[in-house]
């Protein structure tokens, strides 16, 4: 069995190495064949593992001992349970779709083989992350996906914006990892182990330990918050969200794979995995919930004013990640993970759909120059519509079930900040629906605003592009009602996620269905949707988008004039970038320059080192005069010395 677990990440790694190192020898076809076969094999094996886990066949074991130091042991190993097996299927499936799609999207690119090598390498790293049975390997995968993300955002390394964005992404993530690593240090200090099972088993016993160094906070709060800083980096939560919109500088397939479906959800996965620790700190849960709520609402608002098709989807991703985070804070880990699951499909779909439009538009990304593509690109349109309905949370599409669960769970939460979070997630629903359909209407409806040349070449994308769209559209419809019951109310995650009874918001939410199961439950959930507020908020958002962008296209201009200051705040994205650039980047460089010129070169070298050398030189330049070489001077000195010596001897007595 262990062999299969090992094969799942290692096959994509091998494919990445082959495509990367021997890319020239095997050519384009060779590169995409080997990587696609690799990830397909991984996907099939993941499905087998998933089926086994559903039958109750779990695994937790080490592959090898990475290192031993003192009484600490570090291992590389796998934990195969409901959470990891689900993630494995999602990762390999979306990765496979993106691999196939890439054939079409990148076919003109000179870095074709390199691209396939990177995305296969990413698949390896992401699998190591989700399959890990310990904190160290989690961190290993965590940083490795960060590096591949860095390489892929900067894939077009001639583009100044791309190589700025990739460095920014890496550094902001490193700020998160700074917290994460300290959290790991806290874990090994308190528990003496980094193995999940050991740590989680011992956690309740340490719930009341306080950390003197951290102003007597509870250790579990300290550890949870430090780990969450890592999650904030990877899952782009305010204020560490700034890298994600810029990451759109990378090719679209990786925006779908890395910056929407998989890597950015690693933070959500991590917190869900760490639920036994987070459950022990209501402070940490409140922080998680509030940060998530801020991200969900305020990042969605920015999405309203973007005109770049990819950026709209990017801000929508930020906002949805906020939703997942809110769910975690409300202890509805399963709902967060469920939303991660459904979101992976429909958001990958939306990104790949946007990519399909971008190919057709000859790499034009400005929605103001699109419009009316509906008739020309029917597959892209229909799948895009499905994705948008799922994102907006319209029943029976996938997003409806997961988002509804989050909103209801927050509603039932009693932690500090849950009222604010509830407001944010409700307001977010209108906004989500609005920007989703704004995108859809601006791109596919209305008048075609493209130039003559582009318009004459417009056509539906090739099959390698549309087939992945269709294959992603199917789960965007069905996974919601298929997994609603097992993931949220069944014992699906019982082995992986741990919720204290007093925090169990999901089962409180479930009570409204009065213990219904099967189709009855789904039916009740949908009918409940029709009597609850969120659906009407979503419909309001869609209606507004229709009003603004189809019915009365002159309205947006008027409204933005009316709300000029608000508009400009949103367009400046609340000024985070300017602030970071001026204060953190500028501050570090300024401080470095100051320390270098004043301290290193000025004080240490200038005064102390060369000063010593100079003073030696100065003294010797004086002393040197004594050694003039003139005999009369020597003789004179001798006489003076003799006189002085004799006088001293005479006067002494």
């Amino acid at each position: 069995m262990k062999g299969i677990y090992l094969a799942i990440p290692l096959i994509p790694l091998a494919a990445a190495v082959i495509a990367g190192i021997f890319g020239k020898a095997i050519g384009r076809t060779g590169a995409h064949t080997v990587t696609i076969l690799g990830v397909a094999a991984s996907f099939v094996l993941s499905c087998m593992v998933y089926a086994d886990v559903r039958e109750g066949l779990y695994f937790n074991g080490d592959v090898y001992t990475w290192g031993i130091s003192g009484d600490w042991k570090f291992s590389v190993g796998f934990l195969i349970d409901s959470l990891s097996s689900m993630m494995m299927v999602v990762v390999t499936f979306v990765s496979l779709m993106v691999h196939i799609y890439t054939i079409g999207y990148m076919h003109e690119d000179p870095g074709y083989q390199r691209f396939f090598s990177y995305i296969s390498l990413f698949t390896f790293a992401m699998l190591m992350l989700v399959m890990s049975n310990n904190f160290m390997q989690l961190f290993f995968g965590w940083e490795a996906v960060g590096v591949v993300s860095y390489l892929l955002i900067g894939f077009w390394f001639k583009k100044p914006t791309a190589i700025f964005a990739n460095m920014k992404a890496f550094l902001v993530n490193r700020v998160g990892d700074f917290g994460f690593l300290l959290g790991i240090a806290g874990v090994i200090y308190i528990f003496g182990s980094l193995d999940y099972a050991e740590v989680f088993k011992a956690a309740p016993g340490k719930a009341d330990m306080t950390a003197e160094w951290a102003w007597d906070a509870k250790w579990m709060t300290v550890i949870a918050l430090l780990l969450f800083v890592g999650a904030m980096g990877k899952s782009a939560q305010v204020p560490l969200h700034v890298w994600l919109p810029d990451s759109m500088e990378g090719p679209t397939p990786i925006s779908a794979l890395i910056h929407a479906a998989t890597m950015v959800t690693a933070g959500i996965f991590m917190v869900a995995r760490m639920s036994p620790i987070f459950e022990l700190s209501e402070t940490a849960l409140s922080v998680v919930m509030v940060i998530g709520a801020i991200t969900a609402l305020f990042m969605g608002l920015i999405g309203l004013v973007q005109n770049d098709i990819k950026r709209v989807v990017a801000y929508s991703t930020l906002s949805q990640l906020g939703y997942m985070t809110v769910a975690l804070g409300a202890s509805a880990y399963a709902a967060g993970v469920f939303h991660l699951f459904t979101h992976a499909f429909f958001k990958a779909l939306l990104f790949l759909g946007a990519g399909s439009v971008i190919i057709a538009m000859h790499h034009e990304q400005d929605m103001r120059k699109m419009g009316g593509l509906r008739a020309l690109m029917p597959v892209t349109y229909i799948t895009g519509l499905i994705g948008s309905l799922a994102l907006a949370g319209i029943p029976p599409f996938a997003g409806f079930f997961s988002k509804d669960a989050i909103i209801e769970a927050v509603h039932h939460s009693e932690l500090a900040g849950s009222g604010f979070a509830y407001f944010c997630v409700l307001a977010g629903v209108v906004i989500t629906a609005f920007y989703s359909f704004r995108l859809l209407f601006m791109t596919f409806h209305g008048r075609n605003r493209a130039d003559e040349h582009t318009r004459s070449h417009l056509h539906e994308s090739p099959l390698v592009v549309t087939i992945p769209l269709i294959l992603l559209a199917i789960p965007s419809v069905v996974v919601g009602f298929m997994y609603f019951e097992p993931m949220l109310f069944g014992d699906y995650f019982k082995d992986a996620i741990h919720v204290l009874p007093e925090h169990d918001t999901l089962s409180r939410f479930g009570e409204i269905y009065g213990g219904a199961t099967g189709t009855e439950l789904i039916w009740k959930a949908i009918t409940h949707g029709f009597v609850a507020l969120p659906l009407y908020l979503a419909l309001l958002g869609i209606f507004l988008a229709w009003l603004f962008y189809i019915k009365k296209p002159e309205l947006p201009g008027k409204v933005s004039k009316m709300f000029g200051p608000v508009q400009s705040i949103l367009e400046k994205k609340y000024g985070f970038d300017e602030f970071n650039q001026a204060v953190f980047a500028g501050g570090a460089v300024g401080l470095g320059k100051l320390l270098w010129s004043k301290f290193d070169a000025g004080l240490i070298d200038g005064v102390l080192v060369n000063g010593t050398a100079k003073s030696v030189g100065w003294i010797s330049s004086i002393v040197r005069n004594v050694q003039s070489g003139y005999v009369y001077q020597y003789a004179f000195a001798m006489i003076i010395g003799l006189v002085a010596l004799m006088s001293w001897m005479l006067f002494r007595t």
Binding site: Y64, T65, W66, G67, I68, S69, G70, W72, M136, F139, F140, E143, A144, V147, Y150, L151, G154, F157, K158, P160, I163, F164, M167, F170, L171, R174, V175, D177, F178, L181, L182, I184, A185, G186, I188, Y189, A211, W213, A214, A588, V589, L591, G592, K593, L595, W596, F599, D600, I604, D605, L608, V609, A613
Partner: protein
């Protein structure tokens, strides 16, 4: 089979030194190919012997192994006394490995005084192995000081435009430091009842004030070598002026002699003073990690940037050592070995560019990835390793030291962990400006990608970096017993009457 173990250390010391003499004897540059070939042969032979040494090394004990002990200067009881334990043994293998790399790296680049160049590196190899295996303090001192001479020549002859300033600064800085160490040895000789044996020093009782003085005498020698803040300013100058091979040996091995000194001398000989002054060492280490990283950020010269990065990384070594825990010390030693690979590789990467364009200025580059994709890939790997990426050797030491620091005082770990951000910032910012972007100028446009010789030595280092990152355990196992013993020693008191 004949047992070579009794001579193994002597072979490792004298084979390269004698080999160096032979290379020197090949004469002028008309015989350069012969000089190169002999040098390569000797360095490979030494490396094979060092691997044999590792193979025969017993992990379970903290006792000295491969001991050779002969009288040398009877009048002062100075001995030819060699031996290695789990702390010193890894450095022998590292030294032998790096020397091969340096010989290959200088193969085509050095065209003047080839025999002398190769000889200097072989001789310094033998001397450095001597430093790591000497158990008599005078023998140690002789090897220690003798390494200055070839390095002085390497910088002074094959160096850049300002090489004389740099060479003299390097020489005086380090010489001044080591003189105090000699004084300490003579004091200890008397205290130890007429023995210069380092292991005897470990047992010698000392009063607190004497320990403090001795601690600082050693500190003067070792802190300069590491180099620790604030006596680090010789290093950037020396690196900038040194030829690539010189920078590699300097960063990869010579700096480690300083940290090794702390482990071999300060901690076991003056344990009470070490415990008393741990705050001082930790403070300087943390300053090095944070302050020097900021200074590295604003460097315009690639070699200077890597030199400052070295100082910052060595801060982890001294931090780890003075946490007095097995994890901290092992992390520190791993960090030293890893830094040997990574800093060596980084300097070689700059050397590859310098050989082509003759500039170390970041501003003279840009878009190198367009013309040198293979090089860009290697440089990426080493840059990431320098930024401490998990899966590379650069992660292992920093990880262990940060974890160990947290256990002592979480705030130490908070400061040390800033390297995650700053280390990535200065490394990747340099990488971005040099490698990414459009072709910046004609010189970059004409760049030729790596030749097979360069691929060879960069691949060897890449393999070392990855293997040690993925599986550091074999190296950790070598040290356990000796490090545990050192942790025990440093917790003892040597003050009489206690």
């Amino acid at each position: 089979m004949y047992n070579y173990d009794a001579y193994m250390l002597s072979i490792l010391i004298w084979l390269p030194i004698i080999g160096g003499m032979v290379v020197l004897a090949t004469g002028d540059d008309s015989k350069a190919p012969i000089a190169r070939t002999i040098a390569l042969g000797v360095s490979i032979a030494v490396f094979i012997f060092s691997l044999a040494l590792w193979g025969d090394f017993k992990n379970g004990t903290s006792a000295m192994q491969f001991v050779e002990r002969h009288d040398w200067i009877r009048a002062f009881n100075i001995e030819y006394y060699l031996g290695v334990d789990g702390i010193s043994m890894p450095f022998l293998v590292l030294t032998a490995f790096i020397t091969i790399i340096v010989v290959i790296a200088g193969w085509k680049v050095i065209t003047e005084r080839v025999a002398q160049y190769m000889a200097a590196f072989l001789i310094i190899e033998g001397l450095m192995i001597g430093v790591f295996s000497a158990l008599d303090s005078i023998l140690f001192y002789i090897f220690w000081e003798a390494t200055l001479i070839p390095m002085f020549l390497i910088v002074g002859i094959w160096g850049g435009d300002n090489r004389v300033y740099a060479a003299i600064k390097f020489f005086l800085y380090t010489l001044l430091g080591s003189l105090l160490m000699l004084v300490a040895f003579i004091y200890l000789y008397n205290k130890a009842g007429g023995s210069f044996s380092i292991l005897d020093f470990h047992q010698t009782p000392l009063a607190m004030d004497a320990q403090i003085l001795i601690f600082f005498a050693f500190f003067a020698a070792f802190a300069v070598k590491v180099p620790m803040f604030p006596v680090h300013t010789w290093l950037p100058d020396a690196h900038v002026q040194a030829p690539t091979g010189g920078s590699v040996v300097l960063a990869a091995i010579m700096l480690k002699m300083g940290a090794y000194g702390f482990l071999r001398f300060n901690m076991p000989i003056t344990p009470d003073a070490s415990r008393e002054l741990d705050w001082f060492m930790i403070l300087l280490s943390l300053i090095a990690i944070v302050y020097i990283a900021l200074v590295a950020l604003v460097q315009r010269d690639m070699k200077k940037l890597i030199a400052y990065s070295s100082i910052s990384h060595m801060g982890f070594v001294t931090l780890g050592c003075f946490l007095f825990s097995a994890q901290g010390i092992e992390g520190g030693i791993i960090q030293m070995i890893s830094h040997g690979f990574i800093s060596g590789a980084m300097f070689l990467c700059v050397g590859v560019l310098y050989d082509r364009i003759h500039s170390r200025e970041i501003a003279d580059y840009g878009g190198v990835a367009n013309t040198m994709p293979v090089f860009a890939a290697f440089f990426m790997l080493f840059a990431m390793a320098n930024a401490g990426l998990p899966g590379t050797s650069g992660f292992v030491g920093e990880f262990l030291v940060i974890l160990a620091a947290f256990a002592v005082n979480p705030w130490f770990a908070v400061l040390a962990a800033t390297t995650l951000i700053f280390g990535a910032a200065y490394t990747l910012w340099m990488y971005k400006r040099v490698i990414f972007g459009d072709v910046a100028n004609d010189k970059v446009a004409k760049l030729k990608d790596l030749e097979s010789r360069e691929v060879l030595f960069l691949s060897a280092l890449a393999a070392a970096v990855i293997i040690m990152g993925v599986w550091p355990n074999p190296v950790l196992e070598v040290m356990h017993a000796s490090v545990d013993n050192l942790v025990f020693q440093v917790q003892q008191t040597k003050i009489l009457g206690n």
